[in-house]
Assembly symmetry: C2
């Protein structure tokens, strides 16, 4: 903790790094312009004024530090190589010149490999990490026509270096776009990438230590105008199995790099549910801002510090958990005027579950000047609270966009919001046959009333055994917390589902045409030791729904209060009837 | 957000206030010594060097600000009164002298009332807030002897002003202590307080806005050597009803004050479960540090800023919730040497669920130089992770204490740790009669195996109906998440319990001497609509235990993984038997 960290770059990532370093007692010396965001929150050191691309300034920084790190990868890796490998000349008190050892974390080789996106992709491919197919190109018309033939149109033409927030990418839809693409990326080293038709973008923050890699949860990222707009943790509507695959791939990719630090890994989920890597950032990342609130004892910034200081603790399963069940992050981009963001800022301050982070930067159109992180018990709640702020951000964007772009944007945004509004269902309701549905209806209606999001389907133990097992085995991964299963006769469904999941399963015995439901009841309740089914009364889907709600309510105070009100209402109803009966007498009642 | 806040005092409370203000974009100007903790993290303003008790410096600060606030109540309230009531003289650009309005928050009347503890107690008594009985005293032997007769020995002799962390309090055990007490508190205004024999100390942070008060959760505070040592949220082993009573009393007390801001309210829970107020601090408080991690979008520091800026949002039920189910805060006090705390700091950094806050203060024996906040899913987990750090803090204390005190301390600390080690039980297991225990034993053994903390008792629906209802009605407040109830015959217990709680209730039908358990089964499972019981098979306590574990596992990944392993083990067992049967043939098997 007594080693000094030198930081190349003092933007918002450096600022949040300092916010993590201050309470840890770690001294950070910053190289960047006067009054840069990081310097505004760190008066613990004399910082260096200058550019993080200036070799002489980097050497000056190295003289004051034990470890150098970066908040941006577009740095001069040759100076860093020189410092890491040969040390830095310092004058000792007696005027002699000696060389001091200074670490560079992550290693300069990592920075050099990553800052050239084509080198990065080649490196990853060599290490067995799936990425979009890329190839080097000759920067002329015939070269790009050849690429179009080989990769097919559309393809992405990308600058190898200094590309971020979409700057440096050009989508080549057809051969006709080639001259524009060459003009837009003139003078830069280029490569081409096969068009990746993904259904979702994910990101995973990975911490690399000297002998391990640790993954934060996978998050869903939403980009707009080639800039990250929103981050959802967990991702909406993809299985935990896929999320874990994303974490594994991200860890594998980062594990192939050199040195310690935190890495932002962007990935694509393809239509067939395979996951490929898009690109890596060797530093804290926009998609990891949410960790400040969601992982309040181990944000990505604290991880960067602890990993470069080589004192990162271990985590079970190499996964850093989120304390917040559902988190949404919204970037604040500068609007058309310097005050356009005021309404959004006020809305964030007025939202109790939202944390506002303003970076202390001058507002410019589309510049990242802050972000908002919102935490909640469920994603449904988080989305509900964040949506008004997203609407304000969208308004700012409309104001900012040139008119031509604006019309197209409006159409897309409307289409998107129409297809959204789906909440993560927490209760899965299934039945052996659609003839059981009438019995389930009162319970489903009650789940509606209680505002518990649910999903209804049919899985027959006897007619669709494979589907049933699949359904049960993936239920937890799909985000369900409880399963309700109804069946009649030789009612095997609830027990068979319980046999393929570790979630609580509630069984509703459905009364058939013979035996008054006793057959169903005993088939459901008399499970062997080891496989419990929470059985409710025959045909009593209301109690199944209430039980599901009680289970969720064990961890959701608001829902438990709803249930208490429900009980109070029942009590009043009966008390009312009692009063009526006592008043009217039993004959008239 | 564009108003400037002037802060009297730049210690750790001011530092954490600045850490909250920076991302909100609120400018804070600090009056305190050069390089004080708050100034170390705030380079956004030119601060003022000087003492927060110097009237001229306070006026200088007021000239630069729109709102003045404090991180300490021992300030000159007469200057603040003058500034708040008359404004402050400033020179306008054309050289003219005008008066600028500057708000003081909380109001100077609040500061003046609170900084004199006897005035504070009189004020609270006048507003119907229960406190320890206090009386003004004459500071001589005969005066104190009179007090001893009236209040009884022991009583507390307290300085009216400038008392904190136990400094200014003297326990007068008998008349013999009077000369020492007078010597210790010589020259200060004094009052006497009846000895409060409390069983627990609580604290509640309250936010006062211009038309409301909001309460953070009640926390348990543990003091040692008259300094706050530990904070537990929620408090261990007291009902949520009592916690709410504490919040209500704290809100009532703060509601009687003037102006806006955040207040730390210390309370005593007496042996008879009444709650009385100990004292109030008109500022962020040590007992509210935990909110930085536990309420990551609304810490006590953010609340102070939003309330004094009069933009505090509202919360349902006027309660600010904790995102963390269980939180423990441990203060780091300086040790015998400047490096004594290194082991504790290292332990905090090595604990993934712990956040370290070092204040950038020079270490002196018993000085508050930092704190550690630990978050977890259960208090059992939180205590388990924090206990090694408490042990390190205890070691530091042993080293720091003079030898005489040390021996006494050791005895107390051993007695305490022996009586601890109890975890918060999550499953309540109850039965109608002890004759049901043999049926429950396999289930209880399984809860042990799975590491699920539980509590076992007997509550008969027919023989102890009041006890049963009490038990059920308080179960959620007592921290239980699931109830298992076993009964036989006319088995009313599970259903009656379900009628008095909103927690999920699992019913185990116990087989009696007649009817093969069918009587119990139907009495338990055939509940009316509205009151569900999760019924398992007759005598199958194993499944009841597993079901309870699945319910907890819905929100506890580690437990779910244990259950998945349990299922795998069952599978292997059966597969093993199948192999044996296939190999040996059914005759030999």
């Amino acid at each position: 903790m007594d080693r000094t960290v030198g930081l190349l770059g003092g933007g918002q990532l450096g600022q949040m790094l300092c916010e993590a370093a201050n309470p840890l007692g770690v001294k950070v010396v910053i190289l960047d312009a006067e009054n840069s965001p990081a310097k505004q929150v760190n008066a613990k050191a004399s910082h260096i004024t200058g550019s993080f691309t200036d070799p002489e300034k980097i050497r000056e920084l190295a003289r004051q530090c034990d470890i150098l790190t970066v908040e941006i990868e577009h740095v001069d890796t040759h100076v860093l190589e020189e410092i890491a490998e040969e040390g830095i000349e310092i004058q000792s008190a007696d005027g002699k010149t000696t060389r001091k050892k200074v670490q560079v974390q992550p290693n300069w080789k990592t920075l050099r490999t990553i800052q050239d996106k084509f080198l990065q992709k080649e490196h990853l491919a060599k290490h067995g990490v799936e990425t979009a197919v890329s190839q080097a190109v000759e920067s002329d018309k015939s070269g790009l026509e050849r690429v179009g033939k080989e990769l097919g149109f559309p393809f992405m033409l990308k600058a190898r270096k200094d590309a971020y927030d979409g700057r440096g990418n050009f989508p080549v839809m057809s051969a006709q776009d080639i001259p524009d693409a060459l003009e837009a990326l003139k003078g830069r080293g280029l490569y081409a990438e096969k068009w990746a038709s993904f259904k979702m973008e994910l990101a995973v923050m990975v911490v690399k230590t000297s002998d391990n890699t640790l993954a934060y949860p996978a998050v869903e990222t939403i980009h707009q105008d080639s800039i990250c707009k929103l981050v959802y943790c967990p991702p909406r509507g993809i299985s935990t199995h896929l999320q874990e695959k994303a974490q594994d791939l991200a860890r594998k990719a980062v594990g192939s790099m050199w040195g310690n630090g935190v890495f932002g890994v962007e990935l694509f989920v393809m239509e067939n549910d395979t996951i490929i890597l898009n690109e890596i950032a060797p530093r804290p990342h926009n998609s990891g801002h949410y960790t400040i609130e969601a992982c309040p004892t181990m944000s990505q910034y604290k991880s960067q510090l602890l990993s470069i200081l080589d004192i990162m603790p271990s985590f079970p399963g190499n996964k850093i958990p989120s304390l917040s069940p559902a988190t949404v992050m919204l970037n604040i981009l500068g609007g058309a005027s310097k005050t356009s963001h005021n309404a959004l800022v006020q809305s964030a301050v007025a939202t109790p579950s939202a944390a506002l982070h303003m970076y202390g930067k001058e507002s410019k159109p589309a510049r990242k000047i802050g972000h908002i992180t919102l935490v909640a018990q469920t994603m449904a709640e988080a989305e509900k609270a964040m949506n008004p702020m997203i609407a304000l951000a969208d308004e700012m964007r409309m104001e900012r966009l040139p008119a031509a772009q604006r019309i197209a944007a409006k159409a897309t945004s409307m289409a998107k919001s129409a297809s959204k509004a789906e909440l993560q269902p927490l209760v899965a309701v299934t039945m052996g046959s659609d003839s059981d549905l009438p019995v389930l209806k009162p319970g489903l209606a009650l789940l509606e009333t209680l505002g518990v999001p649910y999903f209804v389907t049919i899985t027959s133990a006897h007619r669709t055994p494979a589907r049933m097992t699949d359904f049960a085995a993936n239920a937890a991964a799909n985000g369900f917390k409880v399963i309700i299963a109804a069946a009649g006769g030789a009612a095997h469904l609830p027990g068979m589902i319980a046999a393929s999941t570790a979630l609580p399963v509630i069984g509703v015995p459905v009364k058939g045409s013979t035996l008054d439901g006793m057959d169903s009841l005993l088939s459901i309740v008399q499970m062997p030791r080891g496989v419990p089914v929470a059985t409710v009364a025959i045909n009593n889907s209301i109690n199944a729904a209430l039980l599901a709600a009680r289970i969720l309510g064990s961890y959701d105070v608001e829902l438990r209060q709803k249930l208490e009100r429900y009980a109070k209402d029942m009590e009043s109803e009966v008390l009312g009837k009692a009063e009526k009966l006592e008043g009217a007498g039993w004959e008239k009642y």
